[in-house]
Chain length 356, copies 2
Amino acid sequence: MKSFKKLFTSKPKPHIPESSFKIGGMGSLKVPDVIPSPEDDSHKLKKAFQGFGTDEDAIIEILGHRDANQRKKIRETYHQLYNETLLDALKSELSGDFGKAVILWTYDPSERDARLANEALKSKKKGIKHLEIIVEMSCASSPQHIVAVRQAYCTLFDHSVEEDIVASVPPPLRKTLVPVLDLEGHILILVGLVTSYRYDKEVVDTDVANLEADRLHEAIKTKDLAHDDVIFILSTRNFYQLRTTFECYKKKHGNPIDKDIEKSGKGDLESLLRMVMLCIDSPEKHFAEVVGTSIIGLGTDEDSLTRAIISRAEIDMMKVKSEYLNIYKSSLDDAVTGDTSGDYRKFLVTLLGGKI
Amino acid sequence: MKSFKKLFTSKPKPHIPESSFKIGGMGSLKVPDVIPSPEDDSHKLKKAFQGFGTDEDAIIEILGHRDANQRKKIRETYHQLYNETLLDALKSELSGDFGKAVILWTYDPSERDARLANEALKSKKKGIKHLEIIVEMSCASSPQHIVAVRQAYCTLFDHSVEEDIVASVPPPLRKTLVPVLDLEGHILILVGLVTSYRYDKEVVDTDVANLEADRLHEAIKTKDLAHDDVIFILSTRNFYQLRTTFECYKKKHGNPIDKDIEKSGKGDLESLLRMVMLCIDSPEKHFAEVVGTSIIGLGTDEDSLTRAIISRAEIDMMKVKSEYLNIYKSSLDDAVTGDTSGDYRKFLVTLLGGKI
């Protein structure tokens, strides 16, 4: 086996793996050809808040057709014009799932994710499912985004997100007596992920991919899933490199890596790692599953549905829709329309690129 | 003992430790009251490069009296005016220690540190001393700076700095047979440090400091210095919190923590941890020692001397000077003047706030 050092210092061979793709450029958000000025938008929003009742349609029509940059300008202009923040106004006017969705959409994406992460970390829920946002913001976003989220998190909550991960993730049942402070495997992995700043161009070294596929296989086989090497590989390698590693894994060891992890155990660590690998390998599949899971079965998980649509409307929602069709053999738009109602439905449909 | 979780979720008590201080505001760089326009500076620099020989004094007079923002504007303007970069011009005109120093000073600070880090990581030197730059940029800088360095590093070198740390740091002699890929303790710590994004306001929780002082003591006692908890504490806690932890350590366990680490072993891991703690606890002392060590003894280590002065001239050089006087009972300015010569001396003296 080649030594680690040699492999890493060897010059990476440019190689374009078939399954790789760029995040971005495939959003569903529709923005008008001629954008009204932020002053016009602010005036119309102010008007929608005034008088008896709120004009929800006007809010959807404006905010539901502006991208993150345009929303930022509206926030700034609204604040200057009316000496109150747009977010405070929305909070006092709107409520329910519709209100939550519009407010999340109106935040700067980094502040939105920082707030979602904080809410997840403060939650008393068991398991790992509610921590999906942490994995999404680190494994299905650009390196700049995760840094912006960390910065926003510090500003808003007086701690770094990694400190709060350690503080808030409930330790699983311990099988052996370990000192109180020892960090659990899934905590180490979450900290590794949020602290990542990956190279974001398509440079892949197939030798490294091969070696690291073996390392991951070894860790799964020996049930040592939180080994330093696993953390290093998943939180440091660029996404193109990792996708090639997962391909190598399948070729060399027979099964897709997520299947092998699933077989190896049903704990938090295994769930977390499957989530991580899916987000890296195919963010559109991950988000299609988030939407699917939030809709299927009794009742709707509105928080997850909102999060998925708001997070991806400007990024890759067209791909999420296509993956949804692939998995569930039905249209994501139809599923959302059928499972929601009122202004909440109108707003989501707008973000999905449909007509009110 | 309180549980980890409880401690972290308890509201931190604002507390201002006596030894803490803010980085910044104590530089030695002198900038004229009326700053010439970047166009004027660019013209003068171009003139200094033209004709027979180079006008080094003019270069020192201009660049040695401009802060990072002003140098950035000069770089941009020079490029626009002459269709070549200022850095290329400097590289073709200057050489030796003077040239190296002026060029490092002219880079954007994040690009400068990314280049210095890359040079250190590519070096074949043994031990840990040459990796000081990695510790300095993560433990004696703002969270924004380390992120900017990571970004610059990816852009310049096609890898993340953390990947190159793993690839380049030579593993120490192994006492036990471990698999080839297992990451060494000092690598884990370096990766932990460069991936940090710390909360940068003065919020200290003395309960946490007390508990973590005990954890550090336990790790030193059991010679388990690269334990996850040590990495987590050193790479996640804000600098004010850590300084309080080191104070608690001394109060509870008798010795300053760096002395106990020194006593526990002479390996790379111990050297690295001492460097980390000094950079966090007292960056001015660390840099005073870098200057002192580079000057004292046979010959001068110009690279370290240049790095220290260039890194801190805009940050806290006045404190470094005062600490130098404290340690070496002589003036840093005199030491630099006595140990250097020619344009190199003129340039360093200028950055130190003296007259040519």
